[in-house]
Amino acid sequence: MVARAAEALTIKALIEALDPEVRAAIDDVDRTLIALALQQSPWDRLRSASRMAETLARIRDAIASQGG
């Protein structure tokens, strides 16, 4: 109970330290993606992120090779 209250206070303080633009963007985050990530193990999260970065790099390279 006390730990939860302390955690809530920490989160509140972290949010208050953000500039208004960043703070406003918190409500726009797609939380289903977070829920999906939290269902995975930590190493599987890293593997997924690594594969995504690889895919993005390939797309970027393909666009660059076409003169885009």
Partner: protein, 168 residues
Amino acid sequence: MPSHPKAADLPALLAALCEAGVEFIIVGGVAAVLQGAPITTTDLDIVHRRTPENVARLLDVLLKLDATMRYDLARRGLRPTAEMLAGRGQINLSTSLRSIDPLCQLDEGQGYDELLPHSVSVHDEGKLLHVLDLPTLIAAKTKAGRPKDRIVLPILVATLQERAKDKR
């Protein structure tokens, strides 16, 4: 000058450090990903312990992975040294398993020993990782305030909120 792959293999890079017994704390994007933030990242940022033994272990892994300075415009293939890793700065390296940035300190006075109490232990697949906790990561990125930090901050805060909900 070695040609390193563009594709990220962060799990392999992390596993190589663990298997060599290097003491380090994962900071930056990988720390966020390991704690459930749905973001992508292409390099591994670590704060390593700067004892001579640990610096030697880290240097050994880096040299085995063919590490060279990433932002050497003259492309001389400069290697990291024990002196650099024992210092106070940040080293940006390219390796055969992609990019790694060993940071001697996250910020002034925030080395391995100071950050360890602000890390979480992640046990998974037989490996123990020390990962900078989300509140400290958010505070560090808020202070840094670079565009790349500002973009991920809402996602990190939302991840922290969702994790707090899960605990209830």
